[in-house]
Subunit: 683 residues, 2 copies
Amino acid sequence: MALVFSIAVFSSPEISGHLNLVPLPSHLQIQPGALSITSSFSVAFQGYQEPRLDRAIERFSQQLARQTGLPIRTGRGDPTAATLIIHCDHASKPAQDVDEDESYSLEVRSDKALLSAPNPLGVLHGLATFAQLVTITPQGFAAPAVKIQDTPRFPWRGLMIDVARHFMPISVLKRNLDGMAAVKMNVFHWHLSDYQGFRIESKKFPKLQELGSDGRFYTQEEAKDLVAYARDLGIMVVPEFDVPGHATAWFVGYPHLASGPGPYQIERRWGIFDPALDPTRKSTYSFLDDLVGEMSKVFPAPYFHMGGDEVNGKQWDSNPQIQSFMRAHELKDNHELQAYFVAHLQEIVAKHHRTMIGWDEILSPGLPTNVIVQSWRGQNALADAANQGHRGLLSYGYYLDLMHHASEHYSVDPIADAAALLNPDKQKLILGGEACMWTEYVTAENLDSRLWPRTAVIAERLWSAPDVRDADSMYQRIGHLSWELEILGLTHRTNMETMLRRLSGADDITPLWVLAQTVEPIREYQREELATQRDTLNSAAPLNRLVDSIPPESKHAREFAGLVDKYVASGFHDATTEKYIREQLNTWAANDALLQPLLANSSILKEDAAISSNLGVVASLGLQALDFARSNQTPGADWTAKAMAALESAKKPKDDLMLTVAQPIETLVQAVSGVAPANKAGR
Amino acid sequence: MALVFSIAVFSSPEISGHLNLVPLPSHLQIQPGALSITSSFSVAFQGYQEPRLDRAIERFSQQLARQTGLPIRTGRGDPTAATLIIHCDHASKPAQDVDEDESYSLEVRSDKALLSAPNPLGVLHGLATFAQLVTITPQGFAAPAVKIQDTPRFPWRGLMIDVARHFMPISVLKRNLDGMAAVKMNVFHWHLSDYQGFRIESKKFPKLQELGSDGRFYTQEEAKDLVAYARDLGIMVVPEFDVPGHATAWFVGYPHLASGPGPYQIERRWGIFDPALDPTRKSTYSFLDDLVGEMSKVFPAPYFHMGGDEVNGKQWDSNPQIQSFMRAHELKDNHELQAYFVAHLQEIVAKHHRTMIGWDEILSPGLPTNVIVQSWRGQNALADAANQGHRGLLSYGYYLDLMHHASEHYSVDPIADAAALLNPDKQKLILGGEACMWTEYVTAENLDSRLWPRTAVIAERLWSAPDVRDADSMYQRIGHLSWELEILGLTHRTNMETMLRRLSGADDITPLWVLAQTVEPIREYQREELATQRDTLNSAAPLNRLVDSIPPESKHAREFAGLVDKYVASGFHDATTEKYIREQLNTWAANDALLQPLLANSSILKEDAAISSNLGVVASLGLQALDFARSNQTPGADWTAKAMAALESAKKPKDDLMLTVAQPIETLVQAVSGVAPANKAGR
């Protein structure tokens, strides 16, 4: 596949600047000229037609209206006069699958635009691309003339949302599906059950939701509505019922399913717990058979995710009946018992005409090859699975709850490590990947800010060519996308102000904004560790703190680091950059005093006193370093040692926050002091 | 009624600052202490119970959760342990009316809170008050201990929204009903039909919506759902079907209803137009009889608004059959013909057990006294109506589309002018008033910003005692309320950033923010006048400009004017205030250069070049004035004359905007020059 993409300055006299496409198309040629977008914008269809396409045009029309503020109302028009002519060749599958052709071609000319695709999935992707092309110009709204041929690199581009730890209302899921469609993701993996909740209505086993959800579950009607909504967006919905572990909520209503004696309560803590299904009883399998059968009526997708992760085996070890069953069946350890369970589960799923998916742990030698392995362990595990004939999905490196930067997710490719060494036939078994959002520390309120715009980066990794890797371009494009997503209805940016205001109860929250822009949530599993120490590792701990209000990545800190690098690279000669750095440092140095009244008045903000004080300390050090640089002096070793000690101390997590701007200030201090930078791993 | 309200510094050690209640209650006593709000907050009921109260508690619980970020989930609890105990005495009417007792009493103690009301309407108001009491403190979220006895001054506190000029989706109306309930408004007046659209499904006359709405109408099911939603909030929904004028959209499907020959088109322009119902044909009345009968099944409220305004009579004048009818019935002019029509219409409305409401124009000597007059003309018209025995509603002074400041609406009282001279029995006929939102220049996108927080000021005028008039207190309280409304789901503040970004297409829109904060939309009917000149007085003109993105009132300009007044009052000695003024003026003086790239790149922003330039000019004059003051000099008459000429020029509307900050700069220039201030009428 030849790649002709470029993010060049635009040649047309009408439009300057960059194309803000996410994901980048596989082939893009920029042409001279642009197509005006006016309120008389119209669409015509040729070829295959279906009501879903009309609804797509209605949505597209609403989106254009929101993007421009023009009173655009587009129905089907006359092909000879239409602004956009869509040719669709044939229908897609009745239930969406990932083996369908999602390609499209889009030509925008100065007089009209032509979108062509084999089936409606490509039409949807082409419309998403078209919407991203529209921009304001000196002559009005317009789309630049382009020729695009586009097809995804991987057929499976998913997002998993855990609705068990924190329930997410349907309206919240729908707006995030809108976001997925905007970046051409095509699988919504709905993690419906876990220790902390069983979140969908079962009519066969109503105690699942009645006793296992605190009343927070989706009715089957709501789930079907979401599935239909997703289908309209070109998204397949794959439900997950996580067994045999992660199932405590099932046992509240049906304790006989468990391997240990009941009664059970809904789990309120976070972590990995002992309860697990009893894999030795026939009744377990008949229950699962009935449940999968019932749910297959709700979820038409050809895949069912059955979990299979993190069984600690303690209930199995301590149950004499299970132990004797294992001896009788020559199952020599819990791994073999789990394999026995998975094999039977796979038969049940297959009986209902579904392909089973499970996490890494389900992989064992006898597993039927059509089972798909989703790996949270990495590309080597995917290679192992592929070598045993299994298709695979990468989620390692795509865990959004771990608060990594967009650039880190961007650098993770499903075809890496051992997977890169597979022969092409085996590599084809790697279907793509899924971003995963586990929600121990995420509520419906801040879900959007944890998903966006970082999910878009993973979407691009899975759609675009493997050599699309320029992080600067990516950050510029997702910065723009981020606002388009707000226009679509997502709240990842605007919600922050509301949360900060609530934290402080104050009218003027400027100093809180200043602090908020310099910090980031701690990463990986540090929050779990601290919560364990504080005994707040549970669902009762409020998620209304500063750490919950800020985005996972500080744009200010990234841009400040860029300025410092530029200034250092100039040999401290770039006076303009020095001025920006100094202004920023002055603001930070003065902020702690301004923030004090807000800190004093809020029980929630109080904990941030130390990090606010540290911001002042490191900003003052940065200003001193600038003074050394300006006066062409090298500070004494004493000053440097003290400064570095203060910076190292300020870099330590405080109240679940990291003072992200301490690192670039350290870079400045080291450069001025002539000290080699320390290892920056982890940033 | 004794008034014991105060907005004093709070005596409790836990909570300092002001109570941000809107509207202010009729009796409020602040007590020592505060009630902690934690995630174990619970509610118990005593007395009368109904499902609506359970839903109210569910909503209240969700609101507390959003206001605090605590995982609050409140169901009915045990009275001995509950945080909040609610006593309700009896049911309210099956269909809400305005003669019901809406009073409540609320006592918050440090251990629990007690809310008591005669019926559910008072319970709803008491819960709204409680929610406004909750605030962050150094010890967590809390409500201050208070004793409140509260009852409204006027029984009718309404908001009218015109959904004919621009259609407003149900979801947009619902969130604004939430806003109304938060400030205890109790009537939603739904202006459902006008020249430009007939917005509700009629099953009897389906061509009304099929041909008269461009497909933008509410189904009866949606309307019933909204009525039920409103009832849950303690809001009565009064529909308006505006006849005999303002009805062009009816005639598209039913041209025989009109007084002139068809065919008719949906009106696309704004203004007052000729088409009117034919009041001389029996078929007109049988149509109205059927329609009112049908709609009375959808709208259970005991009132129907039938419009009656702005009939220009041209179609009547030029229809010979109508002229001969008038002669035959001794109707000597169009006013008498309209009175004839209104009398028959009233009979129809009464037949369906509804009380008719109409605008000023329906008042004529023979009108049955139970008809209610809604006055856009003023308190004298209300007094006339009262003297003829009619109940009345004030909307004069409450037209939100005219872009007045909150303080101006706040100063308008229904009992003023001739109404203040009525004897008490006649005064009682004045039921209250309605804020009116006509939507020629308002879309679903910016409706919230045109309604809030100004609607809250009118709500307070209609609820609170007449001597609650302190504008400073009002601005402080609605500033706080404004954020609470965003938490409820309104978008009046957060939407502005999205609109500004769309205007510019830029990533950094700081200079656009700076300009946006210094300007206001032009007022009264100036926009109509300019649109007439530009030939954009119609529904095709996009509402995506700077004037559409900014709020009706500039908080920055108001605060800047306050600083200037303070500085002038200090005899130019207040150095701290001078410093703030100077910093602000420096920012404004430098802004035009920074804004130029954004202006150049956007066809929509281009028009704002002149006002941006003017901001720089007046800011520079302000800085010069400060320099004179600092150096204790009086500028020469030449300088003053030139400065005043430049300021007068800068104050003139530009592209539908006013440079609001020019006025306080003029104040400064005049003070420094020793010149008496000009008449500030209109500001």
